[in-house]
């Protein structure tokens, strides 16, 4: 088992023929992901990477019946692209693009929630179920199939957690980057629920960072609902208040959202804390064994 994606995932790519769409689609196909086609307005009818291209998600859905879409279109078109995929009936949408205006995401979030659609991202590395399907921009070869579920707000930080759990032989059931934006499509809690119900996942690694209160909310949820061990690392312990640390979401505002507060709350709720980035893997080993 796994969460969200597996070998049965039939994926279309929005922004298929662009440079990012092409590069990452090639790598995903090489990994074994079942990409059935793509969408680029105005290029319908051609073949790209051996797959059919359509003018709209609607057309692609009619012909290919996909169950997931990944979006690589530029930020200014993302709102329309996500809405289009949602309205065409795609139930799992992954948006990799960063830099989407927050006002756009407020509308998007309300719309997809109304329709009951799962959106991962934006501004995220995507999802991978090792050995089955890679829907994202992560390097496939650091992953091995295994028992750890990984959720993270950051890209390269996810890879770090993946590498450490791979090196120690645990491997991953699935890894999800939920993205570093203020209004993400899915939250830690959404993913914790899925990992709790997944037979293959033995333990969950949650990589958080400063800003907002998503980790605090997750801590409360874990205390009441999650029976599997959760290991957490929070980045930004040395970040100053009031400064935005790269991610639009990573800012300590009005004394709220500090790493210290998050770690204390997580500890209180029974989460195991890796106090250093380099000790995520060893903490997992300590908890599992």
């Amino acid at each position: 088992m796994s969460i969200l994606v597996n070998k049965d995932t039939k994926l279309i790519v929005q922004g298929f023929t662009g440079s990012q769409g092409t590069l990452h689609s090639e790598q995903s196909i090489e990994y074994g992901t079942n990409i059935v086609g793509g969408v680029t307005p105005g290029k319908g009818g051609i073949k790209h990477l051996g797959k059919p291209v359509f003018n709209s998600v609607h057309d692609a859905v009619k012909e290919l019946n996909p169950n997931a879409s990944i979006i690589f279109v530029p930020a200014k078109f993302c709102k329309d692209s996500i809405m289009e995929a949602a309205d065409a009936g795609i139930k799992l949408i992954i948006c990799i693009t960063e830099g989407i205006p927050t006002i756009d995401m407020l509308d998007v979030k309300r719309h997809i929630d109304d329709l009951g659609i799962r959106l991962i991202g934006p501004n995220c590395p995507g999802i991978i179920t090792p050995g089955e399907a890679k829907l994202g921009i992560m390097p496939g070869d650091i992953h091995i199939p295994g028992s750890i579920g990984i959720i993270s707000r950051s890209g390269t930080l996810t890879y770090e957690a993946v590498k450490q759990t791979t090196d120690l032989g645990f491997g991953q059931s699935s890894c999800v980057g939920i993205g570093g934006d203020p209004i993400p499509g899915s939250s830690f809690i959404d993913m914790l629920k899925l990992f709790e119900d997944d037979d293959k996942t033995e333990a969950i690694v949650m990589v958080g960072e400063i800003g907002g209160s998503a980790e605090e909310a997750a801590a409360e949820y874990i205390k009441n609902n999650i029976t599997k061990p959760v290991i957490s690392y929070i980045a930004g312990q040395t970040a100053p208040a009031g400064k935005r640390m790269g991610h639009a979401g990573a800012i300590i505002a009005g004394g709220k959202g500090t790493a210290k507060d998050k770690i204390e709350k997580l500890k209180k709720c029974g989460v195991h804390i890796a106090d250093n980035l380099v000790s995520i893997g060893s903490k997992v080993a300590e908890v599992i064994n």
């Binding site: 790598q27 040395t238 790493a259």
Partner: protein
């Protein structure tokens, strides 16, 4: 991106919100004309900087003689204003806002932000204005209301009435307040704001609502569709290194340590800073070099890091995802040569082709400490910095 008060008030006026008659001046000689144009016999002169707490720092003055305004302008223009919200250098004053003087009966607080928990725009209102709202939140939480709203929703006037109650507005004022909230929300959405604060919102001696201050922050991701606002960018209010980095699409924040950091990815950059601290060192900066660590970007990043005279060593931490580490290694070597880096450089490469990358680094004609393990690389950098 922050706006100055005078720019924010121009937006307020555009959206039919009540603001004082005023004029911004960039030269002390223009003050007298400004006072005459505004009319009346009393004026307020306000130093324009991207920071709050100006009043207490002497950056706001009440005058009843235009000549006093000239003195005020001469005192501040070209100088830095230091408030509790600025760093110890303060922010440069390049303009002064001259306004008609209002007689105030009561000061209130009103702001709007995008709230991550409720995933809505939330108005925050309080009957206690003109003071630090965070203090009010601590001491009198019952005097603050957080009202989530949805643009275009029918319930908006109801939302406004809920806030009006906490602000203790009478019926006339509530009738002014409802369209005010509607206009503020329209401004927020149409202009892609991420924060808007009016502190204080006042009740004048005539019992009318009036916006005495305007603090506006615009979502930088939306500037492409807000060309008029993008033009209001004032680089003088930014840290020069951070502004230079932003021009090159690098995300940089200056800190007070001595270990320069260059990392790909914001999360990993924060994690690297934490690791340095964990082993007893102090990071000099946060720097996210981005997903594609090409030679040009790495060279630019080295230049920005080395502009900080405190930096004694640079720790480069790259997790090669899609980008191959051997290419990154070559980029790093060329960049170090190009920038002529004279201090120790510790490089940790991991991921795609990492071993090949490390080999290239260790064979380089310049000395680079290539260490595969992040903990060891951080320890090495901390040693160099001692």
């Amino acid at each position: 991106m922050n706006l100055h008060e005078y720019q924010g008030k121009a937006l307020f006026a555009e959206f039919n919100l009540p603001v004082s008659k005023g004029k911004v001046v960039f030269d002390a000689d223009e003050i007298i004309d400004a006072c005459n144009e505004i009319g009346g016999s009393k004026w307020v002169v306000k130093a324009q900087v991207h920071a709050g707490g100006r009043g207490k720092a002497g950056g706001v003055e009440l005058i009843d003689n235009p000549q006093d305004g000239v003195e005020f302008a001469k005192k501040w223009l070209g100088k830095n204003l230091i408030t509790y919200q600025t760093d110890k250098k303060g922010q440069p004053v390049n303009s002064i806002l001259v306004e008609e003087c209002m007689t105030i009966a009561k000061e209130l607080y009103l702001s709007a932000v995008i709230d991550r928990e409720s995933q809505k725009i939330v108005f925050i209102g309080s009957s206690e204005g003109g003071v630090n709202i965070e203090d009010v939140a601590k001491k009198y939480p019952e005097k603050i209301i957080y009202e989530g709203v949805v643009y275009g929703d029918k319930a908006l006037s109801e939302n406004a009435e809920n806030i009006a109650k906490v602000l203790k507005l009478n019926k006339d004022q509530t009738n002014q307040f409802i369209p005010m909230i509607e206009n503020l929300l329209r401004l927020f959405v149409e202009k892609d704001l991420s924060l808007l604060e009016i502190n204080p919102l006042v009740i004048t001696e005539n019992g009318d609502l009036h916006c005495l201050d305007a603090k506006i922050n615009i979502d930088s991701n939306a500037l492409y569709r807000q060309p008029d606002l993008a033009e209001m960018y004032d680089q003088s209010q930014e840290d020069p290194q951070e502004a230079e980095a932003a021009k090159n699409d690098l995300s940089y924040v200056s800190l007070d340590g001595n270990i320069g950091c260059m990392v790909n990815g914001a999360g990993l950059a924060m994690g690297t800073m934490d690791t340095i601290k964990f082993y007893g060192g102090n990071p000099a900066n946060f720097l996210d070099v981005g997903g594609t660590a090409t030679q040009q970007r790495v060279a630019k990043a080295f230049k920005i890091i080395l502009d900080d005279p405190d930096v004694k060593v640079v720790l480069v931490n790259i997790f090669g995802g899609i980008v191959r580490c051997d290419l990154i290694a070559e980029g790093i070597i060329s960049a170090i040569k190009e920038v002529d880096v004279k201090i120790p450089v510790v490089v940790r490469l991991e991921g795609n082709n990492a071993e090949k990358g490390s080999q290239i680094l260790s064979k380089a004609s310049i000395k680079i400490d290539s260490i595969n393990n992040l903990a060891d690389a951080a320890k090495k950098a901390v040693d160099f910095a001692k």
